[in-house]
Every structure is written in structure tokens, then in C-alpha cells.
């Protein structure tokens, strides 16, 4: 970047937002952080981190295929992630390890792993078929804040609103099914259908997010804020809000720092997210030692 950091934060922020690409990056980052913070919270709650990671990397072959065929990269991301979400959804456990025997869960994860390996291999094939693409490989995998267009922001906004609306509709039964699938099933909650619907939502969320953070680092934004939030509170509503808040903070700070430094956004976002997780884990360990379990922490504080 041609600009330097003056340490006058108001001035720096004004300077940062005076670039149109940076404004777009901030808009896109905000949408992406809200969506991945919310979708990621359920992912961590449902212990579907592996399925989420597979969906995340599958965006790469999609985008590489789109570049090779000369169509918009967005189609590639959304198409590939949706197909992968549907494949994982039709597997017997729906990509969810909990509740089955370890060997069966392992065998199913291995099937998802095979899907992931094959998808990445296809991505490599498309990259090598499309010569001269190697310079774009890094931003495809690790993200870039410079290339986001107005149209992309609009697509992200539409996708983000749809995902949040869908999550709001299925949120309560999904939470029930995630915490205790057996009881939920007995009460007539369509557990299997919810699981499939959630995977599709996660696929769309991941496809949108990868366009900003790159395929390899979208996962950081999905898992780290949610894992941090679940260290701090056991209440679902509060955890969800906290997860979104942490994702927003990490993304804004990461984009801001990336603007003034030579290193990519992906490095800053993952590092900040990891720092938040380490701090939260430290806090949890201290709180546990002082004998204030997470469940009762907030009400006890309010009463005292």
C-alpha cells in the first residue's frame, strides 16, 4: 500500500475508507462475518467442524473450474459448495459424528475425506488446465481484500439475508435437534430434514465467505469465533450473539491491519481469531478454578 499508518485512528479510518475497494472490502467483510459467526455457532454446537471444513475447501475447485470455463467465480463457489453439502447430507449420518459408534463415524468421515481429497485434486486439475492461473491461486486459496466488486457485495448481501432469515426460521428446532437429537426426534422434530437444511445453509455461507477470505481460511472465521463464544457462555442466544460479535471484530480489525501491512488479510484474521480463542480459554480455565461454572456465571454476577 502506498499509504502509511499515522496512528491517528480517526484519520487512518477516514483514509482507509476513502478507497472504494476498501469500502467494498469492509461491506463484504461485515456481511461475511455476521453470516459465518451465526452459521459457525451451530457448526461447533453440532460438532460438524469436519463437514464445515470440507465444504470450505470445496469452494476452491468450484472457483478454479469457473475460471477455466470463463464464467463468474461466484457461480463456481456457490455451485460446488451446494453440491458438496447435498452429498454430505445424503450420507447416513448426515456428516454428524455424534450418536454413532466410533468406527461407523470414522468410516463416514473417511467418505467425507475422500470427497474433500477428490475435490481438491479436481481444483488442481482445473488450475493446471487453465495455464497462467497460478498468480490467482494465492488469492483464491488465501483471500484478498482488493478485488471485491459492487456486484459481489450485492450477491453477498442477498445470500447473507437469505441465510439469516432461514436460520431464524429453523434456529429453534435446529438448536433442539443439535443438543439432543433423540429427544427432538421423539417430540416430532424432523431431525434428518433439519440436518440437511443446515448443511445447505452452511454451504451457501461458506461459498459467500470464501470469496473474501479464500477457500483455505474461511474455516477460521467459521470455527474460531464460535469456539471462543462457547468458551465464554453456555447460553445459546448469548453465545450466538457473542460469536457474531467476535467474528465482526476480528474481520474489521483484520481488514484494517491488512490494509496497512504487507501481509494478507488471511493471516491477520486467523491470528486475531486464534488470540481471541486463547484469551477465552484462559478466562474459562481461571473461572473454572475459582469455581464459577459457565452455566451459572452470568446470573450469579447479576445477582451479586
Amino acid at each position: 500500500m502506498s499509504t502509511g499508518l499515522s496512528w491517528n485512528l480517526v484519520e487512518d479510518l477516514r483514509q482507509l475508507l476513502s478507497f472504494h475497494f476498501m469500502l467494498n472490502a469492509m461491506r463484504a467483510g461485515t456481511i461475511v462475518a455476521v453470516v459465518s459467526g451465526a452459521a459457525g455457532y451451530f457448526m461447533v454446537l453440532r460438532r460438524q467442524a469436519f463437514a464445515g471444513h470440507t465444504l470450505a475447501v470445496v469452494g476452491f475447485p468450484g472457483a478454479a473450474a469457473a475460471a477455466w470455463l470463463g464464467v463468474n467465480a461466484g457461480f463456481g463457489y456457490f455451485g460446488a459448495c451446494l453440491v458438496a453439502a447435498l452429498i454430505i447430507a445424503v450420507l447416513p449420518g448426515g456428516g454428524r459424528a455424534a450418536g454413532t459408534s466410533p468406527a461407523a463415524a470414522g468410516e463416514e468421515s473417511a467418505a467425507i475425506g475422500t470427497l474433500q481429497g477428490f475435490a481438491l485434486a479436481c481444483g488442481f486439475l482445473f488450475v493446471s488446465l487453465y495455464h497462467g492461473f497460478l498468480s490467482g491461486l494465492t488469492s483464491l486459496l488465501f483471500g484478498s481484500i482488493t478485488g471485491i466488486t459492487d456486484d459481489q457485495v450485492l450477491v453477498l448481501l442477498v445470500a447473507g439475508v437469505l441465510i439469516l432469515a432461514a436460520l431464524a426460521v429453523i434456529g429453534r428446532p435446529l438448536l433442539f435437534a443439535s443438543v439432543d437429537a433423540e429427544v427432538a426426534r421423539a417430540r416430532g422434530v424432523p431431525v434428518r430434514l433439519l440436518s440437511a437444511a443446515y448443511l445447505v445453509l452452511l454451504g451457501v455461507a461458506v461459498a459467500g465467505t470464501s470469496q473474501v477470505t479464500g477457500s483455505l481460511l474461511v474455516f477460521a472465521l467459521l470455527v474460531a469465533p464460535a469456539a471462543t463464544a462457547s468458551r465464554l457462555t453456555a447460553r445459546p442466544g448469548r453465545g450466538l450473539l457473542l460469536s457474531v460479535g467476535i467474528a465482526l471484530l476480528v474481520t474489521w480489525l483484520g481488514e484494517g491491519i491488512a490494509f496497512f501491512s504487507p501481509y494478507q488479510i488471511g493471516f491477520w484474521v486467523t491470528t486475531l481469531a486464534f488470540a481471541a480463542f486463547v484469551l477465552a480459554s484462559g478466562y474459562r480455565a481461571l473461572a473454572d478454578r475459582r469455581g464459577t461454572p459457565g452455566r451459572r456465571h452470568a446470573p450469579a454476577g447479576a445477582a451479586g
Binding site: 467418505a111 485434486a121 497460478l134
Partner: protein
């Protein structure tokens, strides 16, 4: 074209020698990964190898040193973090997402500081280049794989016991708590070794697909273990031959495509035969 002509090419000989050793190792270790339900840890360690290699490039030391140091270290950390049950998948996810972020840092550092830096180094680390492996690198790879296979042979019996039934194994005096971290370190070393053949991004496929196929074909542990190793070696041989026949296709792709095809065939066969691996396991248990 005479198919045996392929075997006369030195680069094919190196690729097959290194590839066979590496595939055997990853197929055998991969079986335990799947059996122990540690597929996500394998996924994490395969991504960690990218950071290790890039850190070594940035520091100007041998790439393989960085690969092994990073994966074995993270394997140990994951083994110690989780204790008995193994690290929680959110913790694995957070750790490896950050380590991958560090990989981006080293990539930027390397491409902007190293005077001899070439633009394709990152792509080579990510996707491998088995057909470009040198004679000395092939010999080292075979020796390292042989060493790791010896380690695996040493712990295979207690590890299998501990994986199938940890409670009973513990009661019989098997050091279950020690085997967990030891196996994750071995898995890390395997990831580093396999990364040299098919790259950091694709090696996970070689760890997961052959055992997944083997478990579809048989429920007997030792037979499945051997089958998994055999299928991995077959994937590498067929993949190298296909890449030689169609130079437009990268070898890493043909190897992974063969492994995927093996899994699909095995899954199709087991569906037709009306058996499910989990039911088979339950029947045996």
C-alpha cells in the same frame, strides 16, 4: 506404445519407488486414523504440513525439515491437548486454522524476501510433484517411510487393541494414554512424508480414501489394514501410469482420482452385497 517403456524412464522409477513406500505408509496409518475416528486430526495435520514447508522455505532450510518439524509438533500438541478422548474438534479446527494463517504469513514473507524465490513453490507444496522427485529425494523418502513403517509395526498390535476397545485394552495393561499422542506424532510424520508425493492439500485424500474403501470390503481388522495399504499403493501406480499416458493430467490428480474410484467401487460393491460396515462391526463386537 509399449507399456513397459514407462518403467525405463528414470523419473518414473523414482516416482514409483518413492510413491510405493509413501502410499504403503499412508494407507496403513490411514486405516488406524479412520478406525480411531481421528479423520479430522488427519485433515488438520495435512494442512499444517503446508505451513511447515513454507516456513522452511522462508527460513532457507531444507523443505523436508520444516514439514516434519511442524507436523510432528502439532501432532504432539493435539495428542496432549485432548487427553484421553482426543482433542475436541472445535479446538483442532481453531488450532489448524491459525497454523494455516501462519502459512500465508510465511508465503508472503518468502515471496517478498527470498531473492531466489520462484513463484511456483507454493503450488508445488500444495499439490505435490511426484514426477519431479529426484533420485536422492526418492531414496530419502523410501528410507524415512521404511523407518516409520517399522515404528508402526512396533505399535500396531497394542494400537489396534486400544483403538477397538480402549477400556478392555487399558484393563489389560496397554498404555492407552501413551499410544494416543505417539500415534498422532506418527500421523504427523506420515503427513509430512506423503506431502512430498501429492502435496499438502491432497495427501489427506490418500490417508482417507484407501481405508474407507478397505472397510467397505472387509470387517476384519488385519485384513482391512493390509487391503488399505494395497489399495493406496495401487492408486499411486495406476495414477502415475495415467499421468504418464496423458501428460495434460497432473499426477496428483490421477492418483487421487484413482483412490476415489476405488472407494466408489468398494462402496457400490458393499451396497450390492447388502452389507454396511457399521453393521458388520456391530455383528463382530
Amino acid at each position: 506404445m509399449n507399456p513397459l517403456h514407462l518403467l525405463g524412464e528414470p523419473f518414473i522409477q523414482h516416482a514409483l519407488a518413492a510413491g510405493t513406500a509413501i502410499a504403503l505408509l499412508s494407507g496403513l496409518v490411514g486405516y488406524f486414523v479412520v478406525l480411531r475416528g481421528q479423520v479430522f486430526a488427519g485433515d488438520a495435520l495435512s494442512h499444517v504440513s503446508y505451513t511447515g514447508a513454507l516456513a522452511a522455505l522462508a527460513a532457507g532450510v531444507d523443505l523436508r525439515f520444516g514439514l516434519f518439524a511442524a507436523t510432528v509438533l502439532v501432532g504432539l500438541v493435539l495428542g496432549l491437548l485432548g487427553g484421553r478422548a482426543g482433542a475436541d474438534d472445535a479446538v483442532i479446527g481453531v488450532v489448524f486454522a491459525w497454523v494455516l494463517g501462519l502459512g500465508v504469513f510465511f508465503l508472503t514473507y518468502y515471496t517478498s524476501h527470498a531473492s531466489t524465490g520462484n513463484g511456483t513453490a507454493s503450488a508445488t507444496v500444495l499439490f505435490g510433484s511426484i514426477l519431479g522427485i529426484s533420485r536422492s529425494a526418492a531414496i530419502t523418502a523410501v528410507l524415512v517411510a521404511a523407518g516409520l513403517l517399522l515404528v508402526l509395526a512396533g505399535i500396531a498390535r497394542p494400537l489396534l487393541f486400544a483403538s477397538l476397545d480402549p477400556q478392555v485394552a487399558r484393563a489389560r495393561g496397554v498404555p492407552v494414554g501413551l499410544l494416543g499422542p505417539a500415534f498422532l506424532m506418527l500421523l504427523g510424520a506420515t503427513a509430512a512424508e506423503t506431502a512430498q508425493a501429492v502435496g499438502a492439500l491432497l495427501l489427506f485424500g490418500l490417508l482417507a480414501a484407501p481405508p474407507a474403501a478397505a472397510m467397505r470390503l472387509t470387517t476384519r481388522p488385519w485384513r482391512a489394514l493390509a487391503l488399505s495399504g494395497g489399495l493406496a499403493v495401487a492408486a499411486v501406480w495406476i495414477g502415475v501410469a495415467l499421468a504418464y499416458a496423458w501428460p495434460a493430467l497432473p499426477a496428483s490428480f490421477t492418483i487421487m482420482a484413482t483412490a476415489t474410484a476405488e472407494y466408489l467401487l468398494a462402496a457400490g460393491w458393499s451396497l450390492r452385497a447388502g452389507r454396511s460396515p457399521s453393521r458388520g462391526m456391530a455383528r463382530r463386537a
